[in-house]
Symmetry: C2
Subunit: 319 residues, 2 copies
């Protein structure tokens, strides 16, 4: 098992670079001071960076290729929420000198497989010695000028939809999720959505972000929120059917985080047509969970018509 | 002194975001899933990421604003070597929960001051808890289509120039250097240079990169290499005048790294005109240190006409 201290930085870069895909629009990639790529005319660029850190976003025992997959999938999920097409990415790697080449190659193979699936070129990055393994991914995508979906733009009356099912992602989905790129691009191209966000901190927190940026409020029918099977598997046996079990499950769906599903708003007059067109196009689950209100920043959580007190306790670093 | 564990991630982001400059071409910045920026027509994009890590690129006692300055200046130096104009940047921050808001604000003020000076908008990023302070900066620049300077493109016979003076940067320049953006843009716009690189790992190593990507060799007149005053200040008193002292100084100039000067090749027929035009335009020191040869990958180091053995031992992580 070759370790980085035997290999050195430059040989490590050579070994990893050959695993990574490129694209025809890359004029200069890894090996130059900067990557040079052709700027697409009549598009906006979408810029996003995110990180995965050992002990926070994955564990020492995590299967290496899922570490790489998650590192890239996180930023692709944000580009998906904007309805964008990812194009290029750079990776800053931090690793201890005792790290093995074999593990890093597996991490990069996982990342490269996802990059290939979405025609993303890895065009550069940096490697630095550090205390634990970290990958910082910077991605650039595009959307036709003026069409990118944002957290702002939603209006009172819009219907709120969520893809997939929420909660319990620690059981595995937080590593292996598929970024909703096709769904996001389709929503943008069809001008269905007025605003969108990807769910990384949990529905309760991320809904708050969308409301804040759109200056609206929301009324949510909690019994409609799709709860992942992993949540129920995690409950004590027999608890799933009880009222207390349902409340516990809901708390997971609202606060576990790392769902990487899309939450988006659709003008009410389009909502029915959207649901029909969606089911024709995708097998991905789609659920209307409520609507937006004029009570800016306020979320009215309701269970079968009765008010429910929900503490928004999504994940937050440093706390 | 407020610490991050009291503040939480979201309040930290609010506090830091308000220090950071934006630009008119930013359609959506911090607060959205992705930054949305207008793609400049008829340009290539230049993409670069780099990191500064406590204990590696700065120390716990380093003046905070120079940490921020260095973090951004490193990537601007690469964009400078390409002759590019920096536009937007994102920052991934890693910090321990015991970190103070005051220190981070000072770091970000240093970064913001440099960003303002070059009209760079900070449009996003990520914050994560970690063991030591790290800043990962991703920058996007532009150059008119097909004109970016690369490490490749130099030809045998080209004259090699270096800006400024080399070595001894640990005395302070590694933190406070000014990225050579004006010089790089001028070199590109005037079509003076056939290839360029910024000196981050030391002349001996970085020259090797330029030779490798251009598939040429070089003959260097070591007595012409401009050596920084900081190198001589670091030598034992009286050593500067001796042959041994000169060899020691040269070793620093070749291998210390983090000079962040530009090394570039100019076709011989343009070299005289370049020097004249440069002195008219810039006060930055410019020195011809040798020329390129057809002996691909080989560097002939010479001192006053005699061959000199130089071990290229530039900085390398993990070793």
């Amino acid at each position: 098992m070759k370790k980085l201290r035997q290999l050195g930085e430059r040989e490590l870069i050579r070994q990893l670079a050959r695993l990574l895909p490129t694209r025809a629009d890359v004029r200069a990639g890894i090996g130059h001071d900067v990557a040079v790529v052709a700027c697409p005319a009549r598009y906006d660029l979408l810029l996003k960076s995110d990180a995965v850190v050992e002990g926070r976003h994955f564990l020492p025992a995590t299967t290496p290729r899922w570490i790489g997959h998650k590192a890239l999938a996180r930023v692709l999920s944000d580009i998906a929420a904007a309805g964008g097409e990812p194009l290029w990415a750079l990776i800053n790697l931090v690793a201890p000198r005792g790290e093995t080449l074999a593990r890093l190659r597996a991490v990069y193979r996982g990342l490269a497989a996802l990059a290939r699936r979405h025609q993303v070129a890895i065009v550069g990055g940096d490697t630095t010695e550090g205390l634990v393994l970290e990958l910082h991914v910077f991605a650039v995508g595009r959307a036709p000028r003026g069409t990118a979906l944002l957290r702002s733009g939603a209006k009172p009356g819009d219907v709120l939809f969520v893809t997939g099912a929420l909660g319990g992602s620690l059981a595995g989905k937080h590593l292996r999720f598929v970024p909703r790129l096709a769904e996001g691009q389709w929503l943008r191209a069809g001008r269905w959505a007025s605003a969108a966000i990807d769910l990384s901190d949990g529905l309760a927190t991320d809904l708050g972000h969308l409301l804040e940026m759109s200056r609206v409020g929301a009324a949510i029918q909690t019994e409609k929120i799709p709860i992942a099977a992993a949540v129920f598997k995690g409950l004590h046996q027999g608890a799933a059917g009880t009222a207390k079990g349902r409340r516990t499950a809901l708390r997971h769906a609202l606060g576990d985080g790392e769902d990487f599903e899309l939450l988006f708003a659709v003008p009410r007059r389009k909502a029915g047509a959207l649901e029909k067109a969606w089911r024709h196009k995708f097998r991905t689950r789609l659920t209307a969970i409520g609507h937006l209100t004029a009570q800016s920043g306020t979320i009215a959580w309701r269970a079968a018509g009765r008010a429910l007190h929900v503490k928004a306790a999504g994940f937050e670093h440093f706390r």
